[in-house]
């Protein structure tokens, strides 16, 4: 069952997951590759994200990722997640600045 998502005006969606091997957060780019930085995430429109999500779920085991889901973002470079939770996932824990995610990784 798909989750209900609230998307505001001008907002889009990106796909995220955790890497199986180390649990690190990854983001799906335009070509379906999982990348460690949200800066490379493909921003999808509400009309088109479902097919991308289905595709990502179907290949999750092959791609060695777990917990695939969508995140609402405001488009930008990098895209900015709307919720605090997803901003922390995208940019790293606020209490350990030394562990901030390298956006160009």
């Amino acid at each position: 069952m798909k989750r209900a998502i609230r998307i505001g005006q001008g907002e889009g969606l990106v796909l995220t997951a955790n890497r199986l091997l180390d649990g690190n957060i990854v983001w799906r780019d335009e070509s379906g590759i999982w990348r460690p930085s949200i800066a490379h995430a493909a921003v999808l429109t509400p009309d088109h994200y479902e097919s991308a999500l289905d595709s990502a779920l179907a290949t999750a085991q092959k791609d060695a990722v777990v917990g695939v889901y969508e995140v609402v973002v405001r488009p930008g470079r990098p895209p900015q997640p709307v919720s605090v939770r997803e901003r922390i996932r995208a940019f790293g824990p606020t209490v350990h600045p030394q562990f901030a995610t390298e956006l160009e990784a």
């Binding site: 919720s83 939770r85 996932r89």
Partner: protein, 556 residues
Amino acid sequence: MNAPVGHYLYNAADRGFLGERIAEFEGQVRRRLEGSLSEEEFKPLRLMNGLYLQLHAYMLRVAIPYGVLDSRQLRKLAHVARRYDRGYGHFTTRQNIQFNWIRLEDTPAILRELADVDMHAIQTSGNCIRNVTSDQFAGAAADELMDPRVHAEILRQWSTLHPEFTFLPRKFKIAISGSPQDRVAARFHDIGILARPSEAGPVFRIFVGGGLGRTPLVGQEMFDSVPEERLLMTLEAILRVYNAYGRRDNIYKARIKILVQALGIDGYRAEVEQELARMNPDHYRLSPETVEAIRARFAAPDLSAPEGASDALARDRRDNPDFARWVRSNTHPHFAPGRIVVTVSVKPAGEIPGDASADQMDALADIADRYSFGEIRVTHLQNLVLAHVAQDRLLALWQELQAIDLGDANHELIGDIVACPGLDYCALANARSIPIAQKLSARFADSTLQEKIGPLRINISGCINACGHHHVGHIGLLGVDKRGEEFFQITLGGRADDLARTGAILGAALPEDDMVDAIARIVDRYLSIRETGEGFLDTLTRLGDAPFKEAAYETV
């Protein structure tokens, strides 16, 4: 090796079991990485070995039975932090330690390293009996009636891989204390046990159905004086009733506290008594011989102290006011003349509650070897304890703790904040707990001010699961999500001691940005209206929450 002071010495069977268990998990990890196990299949297996998938990475929770470590174990934890994580560990409110940046493929190797020092991560997750917690001053406090660690170890052995209780309706937490001063929050556990001696041997007062989380409830007394030989039988019966009737259809109603509410304590007791009547007492009997065999695997330290140790401490206190303040807040009377119990604050001003670096852990292991028989305890308030320090060496110990930033004088004061990992690390959280804790502890860093304020516990949870025990904070903060932004609800008046009660909600949740100022206003109001000798809870009881509500919402 010789038996460690403070905890049980593993034998060949214990070590053999751990080796087999790690080999089993290694195979499961391999099959998961190869793809022959799905995530759905693998998740319960990794959780049984303490491995969660959290916000940024895997988190490994390592068990510290009844909170007692020896120095070689602490050095091993430092090694794990340094080699497999990011150089630190987080002591939890269940007397365990968590590592937040673990790689799945490293986990079998980590578990093997832990097994080298008789440690593991079994039953630190899942719907089973979790790590049994105990009084951090066990076997040391002057106020203790009975050392609970031997029975805590018996409970650990009884509950580990218990075939009936591996798939309970929900997780199950047990605490045991031997002091009339409830330092284990016995009334907020699924089962809380208060042990005391009697003419006929140890007896156990048993509370059932306490807990925090979504439905905070104070546990109720089920039995007043269970004799030692019937302890395991009684616990077994209580758990059987829960296992049979506990709800499995709704995760939010699955804890034993909900069943106790549904049946009533008398109804639940009647079910337990019926179960006991069906059981063979000989099969479950905890014999004095068994207890003594377990006791023999604990070392007994020589607690004599040099003559004049107390006089030396009195002199040092007189000569050094800062040291004297630390002694007032961070020590507890020991039953042995010339010894003293030390709480090492893992809450330096402005830092993360419960976090210790690998270097601090190594240094503390060395300190424990030199000052407290190589033994360290973890408290459920996320501090550490050196239980048997000679009083004439206390000043030197404090100076060494200061050198590693663990010498703050704030135990049970406003700087001694309990906080869950919150949204910075936890996948369940709604809000960040740690930044509020850091800002509050920085705001109240002045130890003179902390002493003036007096005992005041602040507990912060990032979500309703209440890992920061906010319900029992004198001031509790609960993080809530409002349209993706962080807000905090304030509760006042909680306490986990003999007069256990949950805090009452003060009013509407406030935005994260307003929280520190709101708490500061509550504290200022308390200081302005308290009467001589009143603690925060006394003033709250006398005047109710109106003055504090007015202060908290003053500028909103």
